[in-house]
Symmetry: D2
């Protein structure tokens, strides 16, 4: 239905409902350089699409099918109105910082794994895996040691991701226009579980340490809760601001503080 | 060496260094009803021994081989002095609350698994497993709904366990003589990550909910960080004060607040 | 109206709407040994009444005139039903732990002040006063040093008070039947702001330290947010379980967890 | 001694030990446009000097006389070395964000008070005053309502101030180069005590609400823990990035993370 309405208006727009669906479209439809991608779904679907379209520089309009989200801009029943506003260029574009994590496997793992890079609109999470009770992580900012961390893991989050896992782990809310990243420990063995906010231009480095019991670290790094890689002792993840960003189409339906208050009073559901 | 000293004194004492070691001893040595078990090792080894000896009602003297612990009573080089004090009955016995968790598998799992019971001196932890991002748990106290929890999991801790994983997850410190349990959420999706302290006589019930993505919950329950069972949707863990407790031999070397201050200033290492 | 209904039933009940009102009644009405006190008002009024009636051992029925409270048992429009249930003895009595704080002024202050004792159903709060930025407090449990605290102050709370100021300062929720007190720091200068839960039988001692700037501490101790005393350097507050308790009449209208969930989703309003 | 050494080198430097001391110097010495101000003392003295010198654009070198600080760059016994490096221009200048708060008194107060502006290198703190238990504050960012806050107060902190009162109240650590402010509630009545990080270009507005009991708010606003103004109902504080900043002379003796780790392991003393 939405597709038909757009076609009548003679515009080229990419529709994505679920990741499986638009995977097929990538090749053909993206070749036509659509003006924007309309994503039907929750924040998860929008983040997935942001990752898929990252290199194409296509702005995204999120359409909320379920509960109120931080990224979806409009409710389902306002789609047509929204399209009309898009057609007459009555909207604002908001650029959202993305981060990238480069995995450098230590010599002992390089036979098995290839160094790789992942991208995140929300967060990069390094956690213990399986039955290892505690993980040791060396955390550095601009090559300066921040802390030798012991606990469940660490989250490096963008402002966009600050209201996701970072918030559950006790981190601060960061308004998206802030040009920073936040490092938040997950269940630290230490008693000082404070988040550290660093300029987006800084480089965060996480070095996987030895586990006490097995002498072999069991860890994973997860990009946007989706892409998962296994890590072992001495593997290094280097995290930087990405050259890519995500452009969100804003129609100013709901302010971020209004969404926050609503989420707060619903206990985050 | 310690064994020789004890033998000379004509006393019957169980020595345990690592769990593997005293496993062999169980049958024969425990038959002799030793007066106490001397555990050489950290808090982890003491907890392990407490679980192994639970039904035998044998008091434990923890000898610290490494860093300061909450359960170990003496340093390695004070063992002989400690033994002398034991021989002349110059010590105090401290009873530590243990909890038990009964796993009731839902009908769909009862073919595969048998209902079972685990015991903990520290804590019973129910967490998400593998790549499921969020777990849903129904938490009840005395059959009254406390909360429908979403997040990484929940800890039910004894006072003894309050300085372990509970503390990492933001829970309060509970002085061991308090007759309570504490329920602490791990990275709750909600914004109100508060621990709830309940009388030790209450019954805590945790019901595993459906996961959003797979529709099949992937969870585990872990007793004292050691015994692990897999859980699925609708499985239930019922947690009560155990009929067993752990008796620790106290020689009043170091007070709990002194240990706490020391741990605090070392960031818990 | 309520009074008339009760009189018809031939019972003796104390009605209190505001503290000013029942102050006059104390002498005459209390002489008649009323069976119970019906308090119309919020949690604040009930706590006030609990303090006033403490020594008379009269159970209290809280009638909620405003928003949902933790202590008020019934809504205004259910008063008559509640009375009927009282008349046929269809209710449960819940005993709530109270604490008492003895103020021992140091020699330099004893000329000006007299040692005194205050009682609390909720909490005893020691805070910095006026423009002193930080207060130093020595905190002891059973004469063992817990910590030399620096910050805004400290709360010693009963289980009943755990959902009041203690909760705002980051402390845990404690179910009323638990026989414990909780010590919660307010904005501690240290990075380890953890509450400590101690058995109700323990004795908490707080010693006012020297302030950095003025060399003369400016502090206050407040009982149930109402009775306030000024403190100076070396003054000592000793806190114990009180011989008195507060008896609440429970008609099981709303469970504590239901109230908690309701409060949580309204952000505590 | 230091003064002599500098004079020999023919440089013009302002020395400040305590605020009382350099107050006298302001008129005469500042007329000579000193190249830098050497401040002997803790972080408090440096912040005081930063406020005093704000409009003169004179860089500050902090010399630590006591415990390790976040702002003092060198220890007392390295002063001469430091001066030598200053003389040969071997140093880095670090600009620190300052904020300003404009107090607009409501009509009912404008007879008594004059609208005024305060500046802070650390923080602007609005708190309840005296015996009012709870303060109500409307908090806005860029005229959008963030929250109607109830509790002890709110801190608006610069990155420099994030390790001061903000940290005690549970706020995140913010690395000074980050161009943000952080809003941290103090003991919020609500259960969601999260800090909000906003771009430094945003405008934070705090409106003093009515207190429940007295109908007349009793509040104060404090600039850098030093300058204090009383506030009443409907008074407004508008907080912005200041046109002034503080320039710190950095000799890279100790990195910020090293200071943080040191502070953490000493519990912030």
């Amino acid at each position: 239905k939405i597709a038909g309405y757009i076609r009548k208006a003679g515009k080229q727009v990419l529709l994505s409902r679920v990741s499986a669906y638009h995977k097929d479209l990538n090749e053909t439809m993206l070749a036509d350089k659509p003006d924007c991608a309309i994503v039907l779904g929750g924040d998860g679907t929008i983040i997935q699409t942001a990752n898929d379209l990252m290199t194409y520089d296509i702005p995204i309009l999120g359409v909320n099918l379920g509960t109120l989200g931080f990224l979806a801009e409009i409710e389902e029943n306002h789609v047509m109105d929204a399209l009309d506003r898009l057609f007459i260029d009555d909207y604002r574009m908001e650029s959202r910082l993305m981060i990238q994590g480069n995995i450098h496997y230590s010599q002992q793992h390089t036979g098995r794994y290839e160094n790789t890079t992942g991208y995140s609109l929300n967060d990069i999470v390094i956690t213990r895996k399986g039955f290892s009770r505690i993980i040791s992580l060396g955390i550095y900012v601009n090559e300066e040691l921040v802390d030798n961390f012991q606990g469940d893991g660490v989250i490096i989050s963008t402002p966009t991701g600050s209201t996701a896992y970072n918030l559950s782990a006790g981190g601060p809310i960061i308004i998206p226009r802030s040009s920073v990243m936040v490092i938040t420990p997950i269940c630290p063995h230490s008693l000082s579980p404070r988040s550290i906010v660093v300029p987006a231009e800084d480089t965060v480095k996480v070095v996987v340490g030895k586990s006490k019991k097995t002498q072999e670290a069991e860890a994973t790094v997860t990009f946007d809760g989706n892409q998962v890689y296994e890590l072992g002792t001495d593997d290094i993840i280097t995290i930087n601001k990405s050259q890519y960003d995500t452009k969100l189409i804003k129609l100013n339906q709901t302010g971020i503080y209004e969404i926050l208050r609503s989420k707060l009073s619903n206990n985050g559901d």
